[in-house]
Symmetry: C2
Subunit: 598 residues, 2 copies
């Protein structure tokens, strides 16, 4: 194995052509085998192997700086940057992260996970480098999906004077092209393949053959071509454009990168490469969308019985004004189900969370009933739009906040631990939390009936399946009665924990499910005359507990202890392990209850 | 006065050419005279008079829908849509809003104020219209500054199949062109004036005169021209491009709009108009930036003695690594001061708050000390970037959160009442609140010395000037000692109120200034054995009071009452009136104290 010899980035430079080819195979096998064991992002990582090796051959990391947008294509980078021996621990508690992580290696500048920030980060880094009179290359690798996120578009647009030694590698694996509805991408890909242009090219050839006038004509044509094609387009934004290069051809990409490196000494370069997502694994190549992120043993995500898509499909059958919107998470949210049943009521806007929300606001104003499904961590990007465009207008947009709470393996950037903190303080917002995914349809019905902004949060796991509510009113459900202490639980894991705890604790404990997180069930709290523990899978600051605490403090003076996530970012691990580590366990609850009751 | 005859939009259609010209004069005089009285956005409103009248002549409002991006150019629209008699009340408590407001008129679809949302809102509205088989035109008016905001760029890019009867009017008043650093705008404006292109045009003319071959050549040229110019550019994004039109020429604009209206029956149209900001008022035309937003008697904003720019200038003198970044708010934040003293240490990225923050994160990683100055309400747009790109990386970026608290006349969209709620729950963030702008430099020194993410919030007014802290440690300052009750104040207005209250209330009251909002001064709270009132100009949910309440609840059990803004959006009015209305007064504090002490 050549891979065994790579302990630092400099080792890649020592390889000859054959060894490099062997290295690609080694990387592929290692990534497939570890992903089989640990789950992870598969097709994105397989597609970028050759380009990653070519980058390592050309540049001098970590002196030069490599930034991956999103970061779900960094496995080969990790394997080449001295983390080979730890690679088997990826995505496990205490092991390597599945995303770039500044804490684990100097090769990872930033701990990333959200799309769209790489060009801005790169430009900031270059600005600092130039001001400090340092000398290194900054390279960002961006997928075609993330390229058109608003933050990247702002960065591309920000200045026509882009810094030297700054290289944006567009990894075009055709995921956006398949949708074929994206203007920016359309512009890049069509400019030189434009029918009209090609027609003129062939007409010139036919008319003049190889004569002098033909040469003249070709010169004129090339002049205009320069004006119209991608070169010109990127020139306007301060880049020299190079492309399109087959990013799965290592040697060709490496040669191009040498030229790009030289060119970058004079001007920022935008390098357009094409790659095949899932390269080298048949199934992953054919259905790279399905193999984007897989579970252990390459288990695929899919719509389950209690999925959002199925619930919405049944609701749309009765009311065609319901329209589902997502931002590049069709499969993950379960909305792919609608592809078959109600394709006209499903819109995937790509990785543009802000647009998804404001577009939904416009739809709601026009009389539709939009349901926006975005993971808790990614919906953060649209915080201002939720407040200004939806809640300030008091428009009937329902947000399905999937992956709320601990999400396990995907790390600090992906935990859904802030959505209560960033939605509860927004006026006009109603917030629901499912105690089980089986409640999703009932919650949707209730949310849509309110005709106002509503968030429905639910966790990744389908735990707590035995609980069910039809949400007919805002009351909290008493799941178990008791007289000494009251535990109010938000979400499935919290409710399961609360009932387990109540069964074991020696005092009489009342357990309630707060399916409606805001507004508070004030009559429940007024009627409560025991100490209270709140449990929520959310930051303790600004969460449900703080609402209960404020209410009790102003009214009956019940002592309140809020169990939530302490002030800090949560590392990757299993959801079970994360719950345990963050005090969501019977031992900790016992200690809290003892304190409150002493 | 022709204006006197306009009581509904249909009245504009009845006017002849001379009356329309007279109407423009009437509108101009009315806007100048009312703005003299009430303050407001002057130059943006004067620049769009002719285009607004042309829109009213061409379309049928409110059946057709008109959306202004940002909304600081809607005065003429208000005067023409049945709100003429109320216009004198604009920006006063209980009067008309200075921005579009759905509550005051059916002509205003959305209550807006933040830049970048109009194209997404318009597209959503069209989607609803088409699904509901309704028939109306949707027109959005966007300034060149707001056009390149990430949300608008996402919307332009979202789909190549733009809806029919959708018209985007780009009101290009050259505010971005003056910066000349913006790629997108550069693209639009340069495509048909490109030197190379013009050169070829003149070369062809010289070579061939008016001969047959010249005609042929011209056809070829025009064919290529179509490919390269703005038409083509916008075609890629699904728009027909029309322009450039002199938007201050009413009759020409009206005629173009008739054609645009017809064209829009087949395809979405992007209409590019040029206008002069401040048109018709000499001073405002010459310095439209200064006259963008004026106070009563057209008083101009300007750097004051305790401005951010001056403070930073002194700090940069000693440390050149400090770089100030803003997002189109150079004058408002006082950073214009640096234009003269340290232009190389000032970057205005335009209305791109997200980019400003992530760019700063990159700079910080590269070894600089960025200070990002953005108003509280606009910084919301970068919530995710603050969390993911700055705080998760624990990078030394200082945020100067100007206009925090009540901001007075600018309405619901502009109040700075959420920044504590959206920053306090972000791990690694330190939050400071000035008790006076005189503390700004000391707070900046302290913030920079922490070498971590810090927010410094301060209000629009320079109240509380007698207070001063050098922030040497995180301790809260006891401004007045007392034994029965403790009032902890965040910010200048709160501190003034607290001391006034303490002087008048019959019991012995301790007053403390919490300049460091997070982390809490825990030793202060542990040593407190009285009931506590917290005061903050922020939403009570998720604010400082909730932190204090949680701490006291978990420790010494002090009763805590949090005075903040109740769950709702705050209407425009004077800051004094807003404080009064929201219970920031001695009467309310007396009631609260009586309750806590009974």
């Amino acid at each position: 194995m050549v891979l065994q010899k790579i302990n630092a980035s400099s080792d890649v430079k020592k390889l000859n052509k054959d060894e490099r080819a062997e290295l690609i195979e080694d990387l592929r096998q290692e990534i497939i085998s570890v992903t089989k064991e640990n789950g992870g992002h598969l097709s994105s990582n397989l597609g970028i192997l050759e380009t990653t090796v070519a980058l390592y051959k050309t540049f001098d990391f970590p002196k030069d700086k490599l930034i991956f947008d999103v970061g779900h294509q960094c496995y080969a980078h990790k394997l080449l940057s001295g983390r080979r021996e730890l690679f088997g621990t990826i995505r496990t508690a205490g092991g390597l992260s599945g995303f770039p992580n500044a804490e684990e290696s100097g090769y990872d500048l930033f701990t990333t996970g959200h799309a769209g920030n790489s060009i801005a980060l790169g430009l900031g880094l270059c600005a600092a480098r130039d001001k400090n009179k340092e000398d290194y290359y900054v390279i960002t690798v961006v997928g075609d999906g993330a390229l058109v996120n608003g933050l990247n578009l702002e960065a591309i647009n920000a200045s026509t004077e882009k810094p030297k030694k700054f290289i944006v590698v567009l990894n075009d694996n055709g995921m956006s092209i398949s949708r074929n509805r994206n203007g920016f991408y359309n512009f890049i890909s069509k400019a030189t393949t434009d029918k009209g242009y090609l027609k003129s090219k062939s007409a010139i050839k036919k008319l003049f053959g190889k004569s002098f006038i033909a040469v003249f004509f070709r010169k004129v044509r090339d002049f205009f071509k320069r004006l119209i094609n991608k070169d010109q387009y990127f020139e306007r934004f301060g880049f020299k454009y190079v492309g399109v290069v087959d990013g799965n051809n290592l040697e060709k990409t490496a040669k191009t990168l040498e030229r790009v490196k030289n060119a970058a000494n004079y001007k920022a370069v935008f390098l357009h490469i094409k790659t095949t997502k899932g390269k080298g694994l048949k199934n992953a190549e054919e259905r790279s969308d399905l193999y984007h992120s897989v579970g252990k043993n390459l288990k695929l995500a899919g719509s389950d019985e209690c999925s959002l898509g199925k619930a919405l499909s049944e609701l749309i059958d009765k009311d065609d004004k319901i329209v589902a919107i997502t931002a590049g998470m069709k499969d993950g949210t379960g909305l792919d189900y609608l592809d078959k049943t109600h394709p006209d009521n499903l819109i995937d806007v790509g990785i543009a969370e802000e647009y998804a929300v404001t577009f939904a606001a416009g739809m709601a104003k026009g009389g539709l009933k939009p349901v926006v499904a975005i993971y808790s961590t990614f919906l953060q990007r649209a915080y201002d739009e939720i407040m200004q465009d939806v809640c300030l207008q008091d428009l009937p947009v329902v947000f399905c906040v999937d992956r709320a709470g601990f999400v396990g393996e995907d790390g600090k950037t992906h935990q859904g631990l802030f959505d209560l903190s960033y939605t509860l303080h927004i006026p006009n917002m109603t917030v629901l939390a499912l105690a089980s995914k089986h409640e999703l349809k009932a919650a949707l019905c209730y949310a849509i009936s309110l005709n106002r902004p509503v968030c429905i949060r639910y966790s990744k796991s389908c735990a707590g399946a035995e609980y069910f509510s039809d949400y007919v009113n805002g009351a909290w459900e008493t799941v178990k009665d008791g007289t000494d202490l009251t535990v109010i639980a938000v979400g499935a894991n919290a409710l399961t924990l609360a009932t387990d705890f109540a069964d074991k604790y020696p005092k009489s404990i009342k357990v309630a499910a707060a399916r409606i997180v805001k507004p508070l069930d004030e009559s429940f709290l007024v009627a409560t005359h025991t100490p209270v523990i709140t449990i929520e899978e959310n930051a303790v600051i600004g969460g449900f507990g703080s609402l209960v605490n404020a209410f009790c403090s102003a009214h009956n003076g019940n002592k309140v202890y809020s169990l939530g996530v302490k002030d800090g970012f949560v590392r990757h691990g299993s959801i079970k392990g994360q719950l345990e580590e963050n005090g969501f366990n019977i031992e900790n609850l016992t200690k809290i209850a003892d304190g409150l009751l002493k």
